[in-house]
Amino acid sequence: MSTDQQSGERATPTRSGLRPQDGVLVADDLRKEFGGLTAVDDLSFAVQEQEILGFIGPNGAGKSTTFNCITGFYKPTSGDVWFKGEDVTGLDSHRMVQKGMARTFQDFAPLSDRTVVRNVALSLAPDKLFTLAGVGGETRRLAEEICRRVGLGDQLHQTPSELPHAGMLKLELAKAIATNPDLMLVDEPFAGLSGNEVQELTEVLLSLRDNGMTLIVVDHNMRGLLNLIDRAFVIQFGAKIAEGSPDEITDDPKVQEAYLGGDEI
């Protein structure tokens, strides 16, 4: 495969100096162009195991595109993605999930034809054509348990359209958790939530980390993430402008400049 050849040619340390072993997820000089537009501009970063990384940037900064390149929904124009030391650049999205990288969608994508619990059960379905899995009801019990953990215990048998906004976010989370990931990319989890709901969801995410999961949380401002993230990574126009602890980031002059004129970090 072409990706193998690429990584073979790059035996010498790359421009970013990152190596596949530098973290559970390593992006190296990741680049994505659409026609003449560069959405992701040679972005490099590493995420450590059980870390919660905040991936922050103003609207249109290229956060979602980066996300899509990492999770296999887009093929990057150039650059490499290493997951658990393995080159996974350009793998199909379902293969990424099978390798242990789950994601949530910002514009929710629940299946409207089935109940909450059956939405979650789909993530538990084996990728096999002939299977007896689920006949004994164990898939259903596990799906119910995951729903309860994220706080959907009372809405198991509702359809997604009956859920409030916070419920949809929880369902997205439950679907991702059900794939049993080592790394989860969470897209705008707190958008439109009340203070209590943010608190509730923060606790769920922290408990996932305590159980061994690594998390990348995307948001356009950092305010809601302060109690959650260990480290922040700020991008603008597809390139990194700052990286560090939440306190360092808020004081960074480049970040303040990027957010000048309305948006608040």
Partner: protein
């Protein structure tokens, strides 16, 4: 995570699964709708007791149509990949087995499985572009394929020996077909695979054997397709129908499941098509593909929509309605004044009108309406208010298929701008 989740549910054992399957299959404890279904099957078994042998042709055709409908439903009804030319698979199965028998002397007992296999390869050939093509383009492909096949029958009228390989040395027979292949059942001395009694008794037995063979095939197909669609593969199929990104995000290879649905459907269609030509149908473009090489494909869709898309059982009910409507209209001895047309001559217009009515008023099909009505009646008998179960939207399956189709059309149009 994984060790924790296993301890959470205590790990399901083999015995637990076996018990669950047995519980579901116990006719005493199964839900009423399944019991009614079993009763329906029993009626199919008893039907010949009410008919003369020479009346068995209709019911046998009906059973084959039901199988064809089920074969369409598993790919189009479940995954939403609309096929407008499903008779292609029936024809590949039927012609393969017939040519093998007529021109190579291979018994149908071997030819039918080969026909099934070839139809499966056909399913793969159409399923592969389906992975890349969006719905409207795929529909065009499926629409054209049986017409191309029919042209090939005419083109290789007198012989098909590419590179000297005698595939069909005496030709595919054009519009007339390659001739009548060996029958599975026939009277004594007829040369059939299974020769029955002689004389009128033999004719009687042949008609019954054809019917019960078709019925056995229907039950087999029903069991296989129900098992597949009620397993987790079925929920992946319907998820593909709704949102392919969601399938990928669940770690499932949507392409694999789509291809599987196509091949499964083609294999079932090919098997039924091959059995058809060795029992009651002479292989010819008109006989298998139908009028204008497309009528059978359309009938199959109508049957599935009438009964209920995305249900597998629906096409059986649809086929019964299809046949009964045809019978009733054919029996009406009434001439419409002014235009001076006999009602009986209007066939199949009233049936098409019935299909339109179902589309508009009960897009979920007769089966779903029946189940819902039954539940409402049962609930009111218990003195409860029936509010409808979750995910029981009447038009969910067909509505989703159409919605998917519209979205894809819109995408195509936007790209052209």
């Amino acid at each position: 995570m994984s060790t924790e989740s296993e301890s959470l549910v205590g790990g399901a054992s083999q015995t637990e699964r076996r018990q669950a399957v047995l519980r579901k299959l116990n006719p005493i404890t199964m839900p009423l709708r399944y019991q009614i279904g079993l009763l329906g099957l029993l009626l199919f078994v008893l039907l010949p007791t009410q008919l003369f042998p020479d009346q068995m042709g209709g019911p046998t055709t009906l059973v084959f149509l039901a199988i064809f409908g089920m074969s369409w439903d598993v790919v189009s009804g479940y995954t939403g990949q609309l096929s407008f030319g499903h008779a292609f698979f029936f024809a590949v199965g039927g012609y393969t087995s017939a040519i093998l028998d007529l021109q190579h002397g291979i018994t149908p007992l071997v030819g039918i499985p080969i026909g099934m296999l070839l139809a499966g390869i056909g399913g793969l050939l159409i399923g592969l572009p389906a992975l890349r093509l969006r719905g409207p383009y795929l529909s065009l492909v499926t629409l054209i394929v049986p017409i191309i096949l029919s042209k090939l029958f005419t083109l290789f009228n007198n012989g098909l020996t590419p590179l000297g390989i005698p595939i069909a040395p005496q030709g595919l027979g054009g519009r007339n077909g390659p001739g009548l292949p060996t029958q599975l059942f026939g009277i004594d001395g007829s040369g059939a695979v299974f020769e029955l009694a002689s004389g009128y008794e033999g004719i009687q037995q042949t008609a019954l054997a054809n019917y019960y063979t078709a019925l056995g095939l229907m039950v087999l197909v029903l069991i296989v397709l129900l098992a597949v669609t009620r397993s987790s593969a079925g929920s992946v199929f319907t998820a593909i129908r709704e949102d392919e990104d969601a399938v990928a995000a669940a770690g499932l290879d949507g392409a694999k499941f789509k291809l599987f649905a196509f091949v499964l459907s083609a294999v079932v269609g090919g098997l039924a098509g091959a059995m058809w030509v060795h029992t009651i149908k002479s292989p010819s473009p008109l006989g298998i593909l139908g009028q204008d090489d497309i009528q059978t494909s359309i009938d199959v869709i109508i049957i599935s929509i009438l009964g209920g898309t995305g249900t597998i059982v629906g096409p059986i009910i649809g086929a019964v309605l299809f046949a009964v409507t045809g019978l009733v209209i054919g029996a009406i001895d009434f001439t419409i004044p002014v235009v001076n047309v006999a009602v009986a001559d209007l066939r199949p217009l009233p049936l098409l009108a019935a299909a339109m009515a179902v589309l508009v008023f009960a897009p979920g099909g007769v089966l779903r309406v029946g189940i819902r009505t039954g539940r409402r009646v049962l609930a009111s008998a218990r003195g409860e208010e029936y509010e409808g179960g979750p995910g029981e939207d009447e038009d969910s399956a067909l509505g989703q298929i159409i919605e998917k189709y519209r979205t894809e059309l819109r995408e195509i149009i936007n790209e052209r701008r």
